[in-house]
């Protein structure tokens, strides 16, 4: 009896929110004839992918299709793993100018207590649009302040927030000052506050959290000592201080990046950079520190005119060549569907095309610690499969089918619904 309860608890831990919610459908599905681009390993011309119970049962050129399988003919199409948007506000933001629909940013400077997935709106009109462009997973991140809150990795399908969560919390988000996306006109304005000053504030917070915990622990052991009053900010920053929760640090300038590297080393925390528009200036240092970079939107201008018109575009290539693990992001909700085009733009400016593809699939999966299940088409992994009529990073390519965790998803969206509605008017 005891053992079975233990087993149940373990199962709950494994399959609760945090683990992949695989499709319980036992139906055997075979995708046949597509050129398979597994991302990891060689392409497979005219291959077969077998799907059952949410996973890739088998994959390859010579895989036999059992008689009971439902066969999807994918001749002439290309099979890719579903893409991963490494930073966005999907489900947190609907209409830009309407405050009532904005939930990605809290007021105040320190908000370690907030969690993005607790504001996630599964019915957001932007989610199906991203999904129908081949995106399967997304890091939904809070922004603003100095400590913005916690992000979570979601799958772009599900009726409730809980059904959508793959892993949460994934990161605590720290926002260092920087000039992301400023135009040339703006650069003449006063320089933004130094990152080092802000880092001091965070270090101070960490120290206070440590002391807070010390007092707590001591009070637990000795009833004569005062139990410190509950402090929300310190309480929720503790997982970071304890290195249980990694941080994603939004930083843009070269000096800010160097300051942040120093901070990460001193605190010995696990960290990922976000943005890093001037990363190319300190690519060696980032690589040496072993910190991955989630790039910000490439729909931006360099923060400094002297850096050259293409600084934002070539940044990913320079980082990649230096050995830094990179991942692309849409950094948006309404245009989250454009994720593949950020990768392609970087490829236009020197990034190897295969690396560009990896930076929207396997690299983010590795950075987020979910590469055992996501990011590539491999036997045993979750069946996140997209069928496309061309190169998935190309602007003209159309997605014809998408499986997320073994479930075939709906490719319609408000785009297609409105189109159909008004097409009727002219028929």
């Amino acid at each position: 009896m005891k053992r079975s309860i233990f087993a149940l608890v373990t199962a709950l831990l494994l399959w609760g929110p945090g683990a992949a919610q695989l499709n319980k459908n036992h139906e055997l599905v075979a995708i046949k004839g597509a050129t398979i681009i597994p991302v990891v390993g060689e392409d497979i011309p005219e291959g077969v992918i077998l799907i059952q119970n949410g996973r890739i049962l088998d994959i390859g050129a010579g895989v036999d299709i059992p008689q009971n399988a439902r066969v999807i003919d994918a001749q002439g199409l290309f099979a890719y793993p579903g893409m991963i948007d490494s930073y966005c506000s999907l489900g947190l933001s609907e209409i830009g100018s309407v405050r009532a629909t904005q939930d990605s940013r809290e007021t105040g400077k320190l908000n370690p207590q907030v969690s993005s997935v607790e504001a996630l709106r599964p019915d957001s009109m932007h989610i199906p649009i991203s999904r129908s462009n081949g995106i399967a997973l997304a890091l939904v991140a809070p922004s603003g302040g100095l400590i913005s809150g916690k992000s979570g990795l979601i799958r772009l399908v599900g009726w409730t927030p809980q059904e959508m969560i793959v892993k949460s919390p994934l990161f605590m988000h720290i926002q260092l000052p920087g000039g992301r996306g400023r135009t040339q006109q703006d650069t003449t304005k006063a320089a933004p506050p130094q990152a080092s000053k802000k880092i001091k504030e965070i270090k101070d917070l960490f120290h206070r959290a440590r002391y807070y915990q010390k007092r707590n622990t001591a009070a637990m052991k000795d009833a004569r000592l005062t139990l410190p009053a509950f402090d929300e900010k310190l309480e929720f920053i503790l997982p970071v201080v304890h290195r249980e929760l990694p941080v994603m640090i939004a930083v843009d300038t070269a000096s800010g990046i160097l300051d942040a590297i120093k901070f990460i080393k001193e605190e010995q925390i696990q960290a990922v950079f976000y943005g890093a528009g001037e990363g190319w200036k300190v690519a060696e240092e980032i690589n040496k520190a072993g910190i991955p970079v989630v790039l910000g939107s490439l729909y931006a201008m360099p923060s400094k005119w002297e850096d050259g018109y293409d600084a934002i575009y070539r940044n990913p290539a320079v980082l990649n060549q230096a050995g830094v693990k990179i991942a692309f992001s849409s950094s948006d909700a309404a245009l989250a569907k454009d994720l593949p085009y950020h990768a392609a733009k970087a490829a236009a400016f020197g990034l190897d095309r295969r690396e560009a593809l990896k930076a929207v699939t396997i690299y983010p999966a590795e950075i987020f610690g979910v590469s055992d299940m996501y990011g590539s088409l491999e036997k045993g992994k979750a069946a996140n499969i997209v069928l496309a009529d061309g190169d998935i990073l190309e602007l003209r390519t159309t997605i014809t089918l998408s499986f997320i965790d073994g479930k075939e998803t709906d490719l319609s969206s408000i785009y297609t619904e409105l189109l159909e509605k008004f097409r009727k008017r002219i028929e």
Binding site: S97, V98, Q185, M301, G308, A344, F422
Partner: protein
């Protein structure tokens, strides 16, 4: 009087490129000869005349310079918010040749822009068409051949739906009713003003009338509206919702002015029939949407759908950043809307040229048109492409290879300097 246009007399021969002419199909391994800034000849194996610079475009794609039908670049002011009706202001008066957005534009193959008054006023100011001649004086950029256009705006912006004015009473209008009414009021004023002048001129001309008549007071705010009523100037109207767009068409008929183009027109697909029937163009984003309520149904299919319904569609940037990737937006119209490559390219070349009234000089690769050209590394509709060279009237305004060379040189200089410093340090 003969108007003699002095082009920057530049001669250029582009050789062996894939020429995407837009209006005359594709020429594989084609040459373009530009003499005195004008395309003299398009063909194969054209010999370079003496002293003509040759550009080898082997393996590259050559297309007409991209035209952005709606921007606010190259200006030192966009909205005159001191009054509700500001038809007297002219964008040509506030040109800023040093705006680096002009360089951003040429780095993305853009050679011509319609740079406009903002959308803060129901009736804004007079717009201007520029060639993006980065480094030249602003006077040299103005395209005199273009239509004269006046900016109108409907919906959330002129009714100030998203801007707070905590001090003072709200500005009239605050509703779409008021926006329409105030435009009507101004045109009725202009008609009355026109009548005053007509009566004066008539009386002055006739022998029977009184002598020494005092002319009506000159009204610079109404003059542009009079020009519109006389067909010398046209409306470019910022509109989002389908209903307000239809109302403005009605208003133009009631008052007797002509609409050239609706700006943004995110709901044009709902009324494509009416817009096509009225022969009005639309200048839209491909997929920029949902930034405000009236943009919440701006689907990416809009441009493609309306094109297929016979509407003259152009894609605009309305942004100093998006302006350098209009060719990416054009490519998306193939995915959303099923346009062909040629139809997609038209959205950023000949269609905006027609909307601006400059299709005789720009918008396609044709003999006799200006030598405004963009050269791309790969097909301009590929996501992997980049602009390598931008040419205006035979003169090179952007050259990526040159840029890369200069960047390398700078980097080398910097390294040498650092080395020297180190050496100095050692000897000291």
């Amino acid at each position: 009087m003969l108007s003699v246009r002095v082009l920057n007399a530049q001669n250029l021969l582009i050789k062996n490129g894939t020429l995407l002419t837009v209006t005359m199909g594709t020429v594989i391994k084609g040459d373009i000869l530009i003499l005195d800034g004008v395309i003299k000849k398009i063909g194969k194996n054209i010999e370079a005349p003496e002293k003509v610079k040759v550009i080898d475009a082997t393996g590259k794609y050559v297309m007409p310079g991209i035209i952005d039908s709606h921007t606010h670049i190259g200006l030192s002011g966009t909205n005159e918010m001191g009054a509700t009706i500001t038809s007297e202001v002219k964008m040509e008066d506030v040109l800023n040749a040093e705006d680096t957005s002009i360089h951003t534009a040429v780095s993305g193959g853009v050679t011509m822009v319609h740079t406009m008054h903002g959308s803060g006023n129901p009736i804004g100011g007079e717009n201007v068409v520029l060639k993006t001649k980065w480094g030249k004086a602003s006077e040299e950029m103005v395209v005199k051949e273009a239509y004269r256009t006046l900016k109108f705006a409907l919906g959330e912006n002129p009714k100030q739906a998203n801007s707070f004015n905590p001090r003072g009473a709200p500005r009239y209008p605050q509703s779409r009713m008021g926006v329409n009414a105030i435009i009507r009021r101004e045109f009725l004023k202009a008609k009355n003003y026109m009548a005053q002048w007509d009566r004066y001129n008539k009386a002055n001309r006739s022998n029977k009338g009184a002598k020494n008549l005092i002319p009506p007071r000159k009204d610079l705010r109404l003059e542009p509206l009079v020009d519109m009523l006389k067909g010398k100037m046209y409306a470019r109207c910022h509109s989002y919702r389908a209903d307000e767009t239809l109302e403005f068409i009605k208003l133009s008929k009631e008052l007797g002015f002509k609409i050239l183009c609706f700006e943004h027109a995110v709901e044009a697909y709902k009324i494509a029939k009416e817009i096509a029937r009225e022969n009005i163009g639309i200048s839209v984003f491909l997929d920029n949407w949902a930034y405000k309520v009236e943009a919440a149904e701006g689907i990416a299919y809009n441009a493609g759908f309306c094109t297929k319904q016979g509407v003259l569609v152009s894609l605009n940037s309305d942004s100093p950043e998006r302006i350098r990737r209009l060719f990416n937006d054009a490519a998306k119209s193939m995915k959303y809307g099923g346009l062909t490559e040629e139809e997609a390219l038209k959205l950023i070349t000949i269609n905006p040229a027609i909307q601006l009234g400059v299709d005789k000089i720009a918008g396609s690769l044709e003999e006799g048109k200006h030598g405004d050209i963009a050269i791309f590394k790969e097909h301009p509709l590929s996501a992997y492409t980049l602009c390598e060279m931008t040419i205006i009237e035979g003169e090179i305004y952007f050259d990526r290879n040159q840029y890369l060379k200069e960047r390398e040189e700078k980097a080398r200089e910097k390294k040498d300097k650092e080395k020297n410093k180190e050496k100095k340090g050692e000897t000291q």
